[in-house]
C-alpha cells in the first residue's frame, strides 16, 4: 500500500493508495494545528511575535547565564575582594519589583477595556523604569565614592558590568513601553489587536528584565 513511507502518524487507509485524503492534522502554529486558511494579505500573526519574544528572551537569559557563571568562577579566585552592596541598588530592586506589579495591573485594565486607567498605570511603570535607571547610575556614583571603580578588580568590574548590561536591556523595555504608550495615546485603534500584542510582549520582556535584575542583585549580594 502506498501510504506514508517515511514516519508520520498512522493515517486512515484509502483504497487506491496515496496519503490521507485530508491534509494532516497539524501544520501551523507552535502546537501545529492552527491552520486557518489564509486569504488576503498576510495578517498579523500574534503567535509569530510571541514565539520570537520567547526566543529573544532565551538568548538574553543565555548571555546572562554565561556572565553569571563567569562571575561565579572568578569569585573563587584568591584576589577576589568583595564589594559592599550600595544602598541605591537595594532601592532600585524595590522600584523594579514594584514596576512589574503596576505593569501587570495596567495590562489587566487594558484587557478590561479601561484604557485611560491602563494608560495612567503604564505611565507610572515607565516612570518607575526611568527612576530605576537613575538609581543604578546613582549606585555607580556610590561605588565610586567608596573608591571602587570599574577596573579596580573583578568583583567591582562585575558590579558595573552587570548593572550596565542590564540597564541597556531595560532601556529596550522602556522603548517598548514608550511605543505602547504612544500607540494608546494617539488612539491607534485601527488595530486594537496589535496594541494588545504589544502590551503582552512588552510585559513579558519587562518581567524577564525584572527577574534578571533580582537574580543579578542576589548574585552580587550573596555570592561574594
Amino acid at each position: 500500500m502506498a501510504t506514508s513511507v517515511t514516519g508520520t502518524k498512522p493515517v486512515p487507509q484509502r483504497v487506491g493508495g496515496g496519503g490521507p485524503g485530508f491534509p494532516g492534522p497539524n501544520g501551523k502554529g507552535p502546537r501545529g494545528n492552527g491552520w486557518k486558511g489564509r486569504k488576503g494579505p498576510r495578517r498579523l500573526s500574534p503567535a509569530a511575535y510571541r514565539i520570537t519574544m520567547w526566543v529573544v528572551l532565551a538568548a538574553i537569559v543565555m548571555m546572562f547565564a554565561a556572565l553569571s557563571s563567569a562571575y561565579i568562577i572568578l569569585s573563587s579566585g584568591e584576589q577576589w575582594q568583595p564589594v559592599r552592596m550600595p544602598r541605591m541598588f537595594i532601592l532600585s530592586t524595590g522600584i523594579i519589583l514594584g514596576s512589574s506589579f503596576v505593569l501587570e495591573f495596567a495590562k489587566r485594565s487594558l484587557k478590561q477595556g479601561r484604557s485611560s486607567h491602563s494608560l495612567r498605570l503604564l505611565s507610572v511603570t515607565l516612570l518607575l523604569g526611568l527612576s530605576f535607571i537613575a538609581c543604578q547610575l546613582m549606585g555607580w556614583r556610590e561605588l565610586a565614592s567608596q573608591g571602587v571603580y570599574f577596573a579596580s578588580h573583578p568583583h567591582s568590574s562585575f558590579f558595573y558590568f552587570f548593572t550596565g548590561v542590564h540597564g541597556v536591556h531595560l532601556l529596550g523595555g522602556i522603548a517598548g513601553l514608550g511605543y505602547l504608550l504612544l500607540r494608546m495615546r494617539l488612539r491607534l485603534q485601527l488595530n486594537p489587536e496589535r496594541t494588545e500584542i504589544t502590551a503582552q510582549l512588552v510585559s513579558l520582556y519587562w518581567h524577564t528584565m525584572d527577574a534578571l535584575w533580582i537574580w543579578l542583585f542576589l548574585l552580587l549580594l550573596i555570592w561574594k
Binding site: T6, T8, G17, G18, K28, V55, M63, F64, A70
Partner: protein, 611 residues
C-alpha cells in the same frame, strides 16, 4: 507586506527598483544568495591564506616577490615572518569558521530553502532577515579591516588562532605584533557576527514553528528543515555566550578590567602595573575565556555541520531513489547531537589544567555523541543500500560527505578521551581531525547542496562533467592533505608552528608535508573550476525544468526559479512525508508531498509499507 486581494489568491508584488530587489532585499531567496556570495568571497580569502601557509611550511625561507610587494612589513624581501604565518593561521580559521561554515549552510541555503520547503511565502520577519545579512556583512568588512590595520605590525591580522585564547588576546599592543588594533577589530567583528547570527536564528525558529503550510506536520518536514531548525536553536543558545565573553575580552583590552588577566603577569619584560602601557591587572582567569569560548565553540562545530547532514540526507534519498532510512531516528539523532553538543566543551581543554574527574565526565559525554552520529551514518548507508543510485555530482558529494564524516569522526573517538588526547593535543592530528570532519565534510555538504539546488535557484543545470572532475579531484585531494596530518600529529608535529627546521625528529616527515602542500595546491586549483562552473552555468547551462531530479519536496513543486512569493500566491497543501520514493504500486518512483492520491491499482492489500 501590502498586496492586492484576489479571490483566495494573494500575491506579493516583487519590488522593481534595483536596490530593493538585489541589495536591500526582503526576499529570503535573494538574501540566501547574498549569504552564499558572501561565503564564496570569504572562502576565497581563507583558501588563499591556507595556500600561503602551505607554501611557507613546505618551502620555508623562499622568496615570494609578490608577498614582499603586498606586505612589506610581514614578508620583508618576500620571505614570510613567523608572525605573518601565525596571523594567517588566525585569519584563515576565523574567516572559514565564521564567514564560510556558518554563513553558507545556514544563512545561505537555509534562508533560501527553509521557507520553500515548509510551504511559506517568506521568512516570518523579512526585515530582520535583511538586517541579519547586512550585519554579518559588516562583520566581514571589519575582519578584513583587521588584515590591513595590522599591516604596520608585520602581520595580516591578530595572532591568537580562531580561539583567541587569553591572556594573549586580552593584553593589548604590549603582548606583541598583531595584538593592537588588529585584535580589537577581530573581537568586534566576532561580536557583530554574533548579533547577525542571532537575528537569523530567531527568524528561522519562528518561521519554522509558525509558517508551515497546511498539512506540513513536523514529521513531514524534510530533514534539511530539521537540521536548519536545530542549527538555529544551537546558534540561539551559543552565540550569546560568545558575545558576552567577547565583550568581557574587549573590556579587558580597552577599559583595563581583569576578567581574563591573572595577577602578577609579566609580559614583554614588563610587570603588570609598572608601566602605563600595561596597567595593573589582578584576579582574572585565562581559563575562564576558554570555558566561555568553547561553550560556544563546540556547538559552533555542529552549527557548521548539521545543515550539511540535512542536505546529505536529502540528496542521498533523492538519488538513491529510496526513502531516508529511519526518518524518525534521523530527526532524533539531529536533536541528540545538538543537545549533547552543549555538554562537551571541556574536551577542548583537557590540557588546560582540568580536574581529571571533570575530564572523565567530558570524555564520556563526548563519546556519547558517537551514538547519534553512528545512527546517522548507518541510516545513510541504509538509505544507499539497494537503491538505484544515480551518480550525479550532488550525489557524489553527498556520499563524499558520509565518507569524510566517518574518516574525520573516527579520530574524534581518540581525541575525545582525555588520556589519549593529552599526548596528541595541539599536534597536527587535531588539525587533521577537525578539518576532515568539520571543515571539509561541511563544505562537501554545501557542494552537494549547490549541485542539487542550483537548477532551482538559477533555472540552469550546473555542468555535470565539470562537477564530476571537481568532485574526484577534491575528494582525493582533501584526503591527500589531511590523512598525512594524522601521521604528522602522531609523530609529534605541533600545530601553529611556522617552521620545523629546528626539530630534527620531524625531518622524516618532510615528504608528507610536501605531499599535503602539493595536494592543497591541486585541490585549491580545482575549486576555481567550481567557481567557473557556477558562473558559466548561470548563463550557458542547460535549462532546468521545475523538477529536474524527480524529487518530492515542496521546492520542486513551484516554478524554476521560484517566483517572488514562492508559490505564486497559492500555498501548497501537503499530504505525505518528504521522501516517498519507490512507493510500491505508484506509477512513478517518486510521489510529491503535494500529491493527494497516487493513482495506483493497489497491489497487495492494506499492508503498510514502513521501515
Amino acid at each position: 507586506m501590502s498586496g492586492e486581494i484576489h479571490e483566495g489568491v494573494h500575491r506579493h508584488p516583487a519590488p522593481t527598483s534595483f536596490i530593493r530587489k538585489y541589495i536591500f532585499s526582503l526576499d529570503h531567496k535573494v538574501i540566501g544568495i547574498q549569504y552564499i556570495l558572501l561565503a564564496l568571497a570569504a572562502v576565497l580569502v581563507g583558501m588563499i591564506m591556507s595556500l600561503l601557509m602551505r607554501m611557507n611550511l613546505s618551502w620555508p625561507g623562499t622568496n615570494w616577490p609578490i608577498l614582499g610587494t603586498l606586505f612589506p612589513g610581514g614578508a620583508p624581501n618576500g620571505v614570510m615572518n613567523p608572525e605573518f604565518y601565525l596571523s594567517l593561521v588566525t585569519m584563515h580559521g576565523t574567516i572559514m569558521v565564521f564567514f564560510v561554515l556558518t554563513t553558507a549552510p545556514q544563512g545561505g541555503f537555509g534562508n533560501y530553502f527553509l521557507p520553500i520547503q515548509i510551504g511559506a511565502e517568506d521568512m516570518a520577519f523579512p526585515v530582520l532577515n535583511m538586517l541579519s545579512f547586512w550585519v554579518t556583512f559588516v562583520g566581514f568588512i571589519v575582519i578584513l579591516a583587521a588584515i590591513f590595520f595590522s599591516g604596520a605590525e608585520s602581520t595580516v591580522g591578530p595572532i591568537g588562532g580562531w580561539t583567541g585564547y587569553a591572556p594573549l588576546s586580552a593584553l593589548g599592543a604590549i603582548a606583541g605584533p598583531g595584538q593592537g588594533m588588529g585584535m580589537n577589530l577581530w573581537i568586534i567583528s566576532i561580536a557583530i557576527f554574533c548579533v547577525g547570527s542571532l537575528l537569523g536564528a530567531l527568524n528561522f525558529i519562528t518561521t519554522l514553528l509558525n509558517m508551515r503550510t497546511r498539512g506540513m506536520s513536523l514529521m513531514r518536514m524534510p530533514l534539511t528543515c530539521w537540521a536548519w531548525f536545530t542549527t538555529a536553536v544551537l546558534a540561539l543558545l551559543s552565540f550569546p555566550v560568545l558575545l558576552g565573553g567577547g565583550i568581557l575580552l574587549l573590556l579587558d583590552r580597552l577599559a583595563g578590567t581583569s576578567f581574563f588577566i591573572p595577577s602578577g603577569l609579566y609580559v614583554s619584560g614588563v610587570l603588570t602595573g609598572t608601566n602605563p602601557n600595561f596597567p595593573l591587572h589582578t584576579g582574572g582567569s585565562p581559563i575562564l575565556w576558554q570555558h566561555l569560548f568553547w561553550f560556544f565553540g563546540h556547538p559552533e562545530v555542529y552549527i557548521a555541520i548539521l545543515p550539511g547532514m540535512g542536505a546529505t540526507s536529502h540528496v542521498l534519498a533523492t538519488f538513491a531513489r529510496k526513502p531516508v532510512f529511519g526518518y524518525r531516528a534521523m530527526v532524533f539523532a539531529i536533536f541528540a547531537i545538538g543537545l549533547l553538543g552543549f555538554f562537551v566543551w571541556g574536551h577542548h581543554m583537557f590540557i588546560s589544567g582540568m580536574s581529571p574527574y571533570s575530564a572523565v565526565a567530558f570524555s564520556i559525554l563526548t563519546l556519547a555523541i558517537g551514538v547519534p552520529s553512528a545512527v546517522k551514518t548507518f541510516n545513510w548507508i541504509g538509505t544507499l543500500w539497494g537503491g538505484r543510485i544515480r551518480f550525479t555530482s550532488a550525489m557524489l558529494f553527498a556520499i563524499g560527505f558520509v565518507s569524510l564524516f566517518v574518516a574525520g569522526g573516527i579520530s574524534g573517538l581518540i581525541l575525545g578521551q582525555s588520556s589519549l588526547d593529552l599526548p596528541v593535543h595541539d599536534t597536527y592530528i587535531v588539525t587533521g581531525h577537525f578539518h576532515l570532519v568539520m571543515g571539509v565534510a561541511s563544505i562537501f555538504g554545501m557542494f552537494a547542496a549547490t549541485y542539487f539546488w542550483f537548477p532551482k535557484m538559477f533555472g540552469r543545470m550546473l555542468d555535470e562533467r565539470m562537477g564530476q572532475i571537481h568532485f574526484w579531484i577534491t575528494f582525493i585531494g582533501v584526503y591527500a592533505i589531511f590523512i598525512p596530518f594524522h601521521v604528522m600529529g602522531l609523530v609529534g608535529m605541533p600545530r601553529r608552528f611556522s617552521s620545523f627546521d629546528e626539530y630534527e625528529f620531524l625531518n622524516s616527515l618532510d615528504p608528507l608535508v610536501l605531499l599535503a602542500s602539493v595536494a592543497a595546491i591541486v585541490t585549491i586549483a580545482v575549486q576555481f573550476l567550481f567557481y567557473f562552473n557556477l558562473v558559466w552555468s548561470i548563463f550557458k547551462g542547460k535549462r532546468a525544468s521545475d523538477n529536474p531530479w524527480e524529487a518530492t519536496t515542496l521546492e520542486w513543486t513551484t516554478a524554476t526559479p521560484p517566483p517572488h512569493d514562492n508559490f505564486a500566491g497559492i500555498l501548497p497543501t501537503v499530504y505525505r512525508g518528504p521522501y516517498e520514493f519507490a512507493v510500491p504500486g505508484a506509477p512513478n518512483d517518486f510521489v510529491m508531498q503535494t500529491e493527494a492520491e497516487a493513482e495506483v491499482a493497489s497491489g497487495n492489500g492494506h499492508e503498510r509499507h514502513r521501515h
